[in-house]
Amino acid sequence: MRTLRFLLRKEYRQIVRDRMMLAQILIMPVIQLLLLANAATFEVTRARLYTVDLDHTVTSRALIDRLVSSGRFELAGSSASMALADAAMLDRRAGVIARIPRDFERDLMRVDAAPVQLILDAKDGAAAAVTRSYANAIVTDYAAELGAARAGGEALALGAPAVAMPHVEVRSRAWYNPELDYQDYMVPGILVELITIAGTLLTAVNITREKEIGTLDQLNVTPVTRAQFIAGKLIPLWSIALIEFGVGLAVAAVVFHVPMRGSVALVVGVAAVYLVAALGIGLWVSTIAGTQQQAMFITFFLMLIYLLMSGLFTPLRSMPAWAQWIAHLNPVMYFVRIMRDVLMKGAGPSDIAPDVGILIVYGAVVFTLAVRQYAKRSA
């Protein structure tokens, strides 16, 4: 263990003197977090609406008014010509076209039903789907309003209490994120991404650099054992990544007001476990990379797959079954889930226990494999 002490001392000294690494540890995460948290939102802000109102009645105008005043739509133009609407869409001036046909109000009066056409620029399919949901909700509410007014009015007109019709009353609640703030959802995940990349990349590049320079060979002929060397490398890097995580959490709480409904200590503890797996992967990468550039590229390649298949950017539940199965082999997935569950839903140790268990197993397996792979003999 004495050897380990000397190894650690050397590593920490080198780290402190390495200005680039210090910048990377302290400044980069903060910048990235600030940028990412602001950029990484799929929140659909106001869609630019172009209306083609062929009815020009109180009802049709009221519908348009409902759409615009909901805050989800912004009026980008209106005319009586679909050709103009089309041009607006091609020019990217409008993202949604609402076409209200002639006889809209009349049909509603007479047969209680009328169509409205909605054309969405669906290049961004996800956003279009969300916009469609919003439009649906607004239109449905408006129809219900019309119906209620009608029922009330009829009752008054007939001078008799309204016939008791069976009806369903629905109330909607959005739990954990009533403001529908995308940042609350994304920032915990982004934090995971940051320390994953930082931890894995730092480890891979750092060890590969020693290989490239030759200091690795020098250590290989000393009494330093495999285990000692790896511990000497990984412990400092692990502590750095954990510090980054702490800094990131602080920024998340203070700058982005991300809810911290669960225990912060719990999250940090899980991060500590998770990083073992992340760094293990970095170690493994360093065994197959010959140069720093290769280490970087391989790490990116792996991180890409990990991050895309983690439910961070796209919902896990939308993936086809086989992809979800793969995702269940991905430690990032578990950590992201834990972060969201603990911070947004206030989950406790018993709630996340199975996921944490899996992370522990993963860390142990990855680490063991990486260590084994790391041959002391430079062939």
């Binding site: 004495r2 050897t3 000294r13 080198q14 002929v221 000393t222 009494p223 003999r377 062939a379």
Partner: protein
């Protein structure tokens, strides 16, 4: 001084071979190096020198043959070998971003020297090399010649039985090279066996004995004078050329 337990030579090699697929890098070489000897291991680039050294230092397993270093077997006792040898590689492998003193402390520590011993050796080394002014300077900032001498000192900080030097004087002026060789002699006088590879043929003259590797095998082995007499030439350089020619 850590020495092999009995009266064994410092290095004993017998029919040592290393193959990489169909290519034989080292073919059945055999030689012995006595304690305290300064042994020059010469050969052209690609002749198999580096591979041989890697096998002797435990970095590479031989394909066949035997070798014992500092009394330990290269197949089964590599951990012990590592404790009893020193190594200075071509690229010096001092940590450029650590100071002179920190480098000394580090290597002292991982070779298992006690804190007191580290302090003692550290002072010895620093004073001996005249690096007192520079002891807190980053290695990156000190001149090449001093780096070499420091690297050598660090390689023998734990008084190993054998020290392996892989092209230690590359790129340095002749004066510094002489000083370096004086350090080698001092170490040998202390009983440390020095196994040095070089392609400066004049340095071959400084060794007690030399071997010349050609195409993976040892083509010549003996003291510089013996070899010069054997081939009827005036300098080791010419011995080397004579040997290398047929292979060319």
């Amino acid at each position: 001084m850590t020495q092999p337990p009995n009266d064994e030579p410092a290095i004993r090699v017998h029919e040592l071979t290393r193959r990489f697929g169909s290519f034989t890098a080292v073919r059945a070489i055999s030689f012995e190096v006595a304690r305290g000897e300064v042994f020059g291991f010469l050969g052209a680039n690609g002749a198999g020198k580096t591979t041989a050294i890697k096998m002797l230092t435990g970095l590479l397993l031989p394909t066949s043959g035997d070798a014992r270093v500092a009394g330990f077997d290269v197949y089964r006792e590599t951990e012990s070998i590592r404790r009893h040898i020193g190594y200075m590689s071509q690229r010096f492998s001092l940590y450029e971003d650590l100071t002179v003193r920190e480098n000394i402390e580090f290597y002292g520590g991982i070779y298992g020297l006690s804190d007191e011993r580290i302090a003692t050796r550290s002072t010895e080394l620093i004073e001996g090399l005249g690096l007192r002014e520079a002891r807190n300077t980053l290695v990156a900032s000190i001149p090449l010649g001093w780096k070499q001498k420091l690297a050598f000192s660090v390689a023998v900080i734990h008084d190993p039985a054998v020290v392996f030097l892989d092209e230690p004087t590359s790129g340095v002026d002749p004066i510094t090279r002489r000083q370096f060789w004086e350090m080698i002699y001092t170490a040998a006088a202390r009983g440390i066996t020095v196994f040095v590879t070089t392609h400066y043929m004049d340095e071959a003259e400084y060794c007690d004995r030399v071997s010349i590797m050609v195409d993976g095998g040892i083509a010549a082995l003996g003291t510089p004078s013996e070899l010069k007499r054997q081939y009827g030439v005036g300098a080791i350089d010419d011995v080397f050329v004579r040997l290398a020619r047929p292979a060319a």
